[in-house]
């Protein structure tokens, strides 16, 4: 295999391997001048619309619901993407940020975003799982968000997106290949550039999080 993704866990690390791993971590840390933070911005306080108890929206139930209502036009990857975004919105509602949004432009006011799934059915689904934890207003907001997310998915179903674009690097070359997965991308490089026998490293991939995504690469990588 010609890639460089050593993601396997090290079995029972001894002192030597632990020390080596610490040095690797420090090398990575130094590469970012000690900046190691990650995380999406969340608000600083819990919305009063929620009670202080464990709360969750069951993923599989939500996907079954979507399948039942949208199965004629969408597929499993679309349901996954919708469910992920609805979960994300639920979290944002629990701890609202000052600039809470759907992350992209809302549809024009004239667009009927509620046409794809009956509001009553959506309400019933959320109420059955969340009613005891959150207020009517919070549920209403979640339903509104869900309609917008579903509308976006119907307009541009994930299963119709073009294959992702993979940027790979060998010792001397950069390769850009369009393929469903990394193995296919590597195979394409090998077929079309048989002189390439070395190790290929994946630098980045575009088109996984959104269709038509522009790939940005630092010039020092070229």
């Amino acid at each position: 295999m010609t890639q460089s993704f050593p993601a396997k866990p090290k079995a029972a690390p001894n002192e030597g391997t632990r020390h080596q791993r610490l040095m690797e971590l420090i090398e990575a840390e130094d590469a970012a001048n000690g900046e190691v933070g990650c995380g999406r911005a969340l608000g600083n306080s819990i919305s009063g619309s929620f009670s202080t108890r464990d709360m969750a929206l069951e993923d599989e139930k939500l996907k079954r619901f979507l399948q039942a209502h949208l199965g004629h036009s969408l597929r499993a990857p679309d349901f996954d993407a919708i469910a992920t975004q609805i979960q994300r919105q639920l979290e944002s509602l629990v701890m609202p940020t000052s600039s809470q949004s759907l992350g992209s432009e809302p549809p024009p006011a004239s667009t009927n975003v509620t046409a794809h799934v009956p509001t009553e059915a959506l309400k019933e689904l959320f109420q059955s799982q969340l009613a005891e934890f959150c207020s009517e207003a919070a549920l209403k907001q979640l339903i509104q968000f869900s309609h917008q997310i579903i509308h976006k998915a119907v307009l541009r179903p994930r299963h119709t997106w073009a294959s992702p674009i993979w940027v790979l690097r060998s010792e001397t070359q950069i390769y850009i290949a369009q393929a469903a997965g990394i193995e296919e991308a590597i195979a394409k490089v090998k077929t079309q550039h048989p002189q390439e026998t070395g190790r290929l490293e994946v630098i980045t991939v575009g088109g996984i999080l959104a269709p038509d995504q522009v790939i940005s690469l630092a010039t020092n990588l070229l």
Partner: protein, 187 residues
């Protein structure tokens, strides 16, 4: 859960022991009383993060867990993970479960941009390694995902964990870059 880990004490270049553990009130108090005054006005991305609030949130949403690294009685790093609600986004492994790192930060004195030289190194990496270990323990085969803060891209690219840079996430606030473990063994 208490796990002994190693960090590098920068001043004398010694490897020292620290504890990685579940977050307690003491860790949250350290974040409020020791971290926040230093971060105030620093312009750091986590300047306005509020770990007490994150902890409250973790009690509301199933699957949220908080961990801390503690050394000599002081909190050196904090991490919140979601082990239940997030799924893989890379097409070849779509729908599979992963451990999503919702937030990760080191104490301000461990950041060269604030304190030169920093006190300890390795805190962030040890937390990420723990997220991977947690993922294995849950049967998620080591898969993790995260949205990196802008200054930390180089760190996540060099961690040697098979994290794939998936580019800026259009759905994330500030379009943060999303990283996810690319599992090669299934392909």
């Amino acid at each position: 859960m208490n796990r002994t880990i190693q960090l590098l004490q920068v001043q004398d270049q010694q490897v020292i022991d620290a504890i990685l553990t579940e977050v307690t009130d003491k860790h949250l108090e350290d974040a409020s009383t020791l971290w926040e005054p230093i971060l105030e006005g620093s312009g750091q991305d986590d300047e306005y993060w509020y770990w007490v609030g994150k902890s409250r949130r973790s009690k509301l949403l199933l699957g949220d867990e908080l961990y801390a690294i503690e050394c000599e009685g002081i909190t050196q790093g904090l991490m919140m993970v979601d082990v239940l609600k997030k799924r893989c986004l890379i097409e070849s492994q779509l729908r599979r479960r992963l451990v999503y790192i919702s937030a990760l930060a080191t104490a301000p004195w461990n950041r060269p941009i604030i304190t030169k030289p920093p006190t300890d190194k390795g805190v962030g990496g040890k937390l990420v390694d723990f997220a991977v270990a947690r993922s294995y323990a849950l049967g998620y085969q080591g898969s993790i995902g995260l949205h990196a803060l802008t200054g930390a891209l180089g760190f996540y690219r060099k961690l040697r964990l098979g994290l794939l840079d998936c580019g800026p996430d259009p759905e994330a606030p500030d379009h943060l870059v999303y990283f996810e473990t690319l599992r090669m063994d299934d392909l």
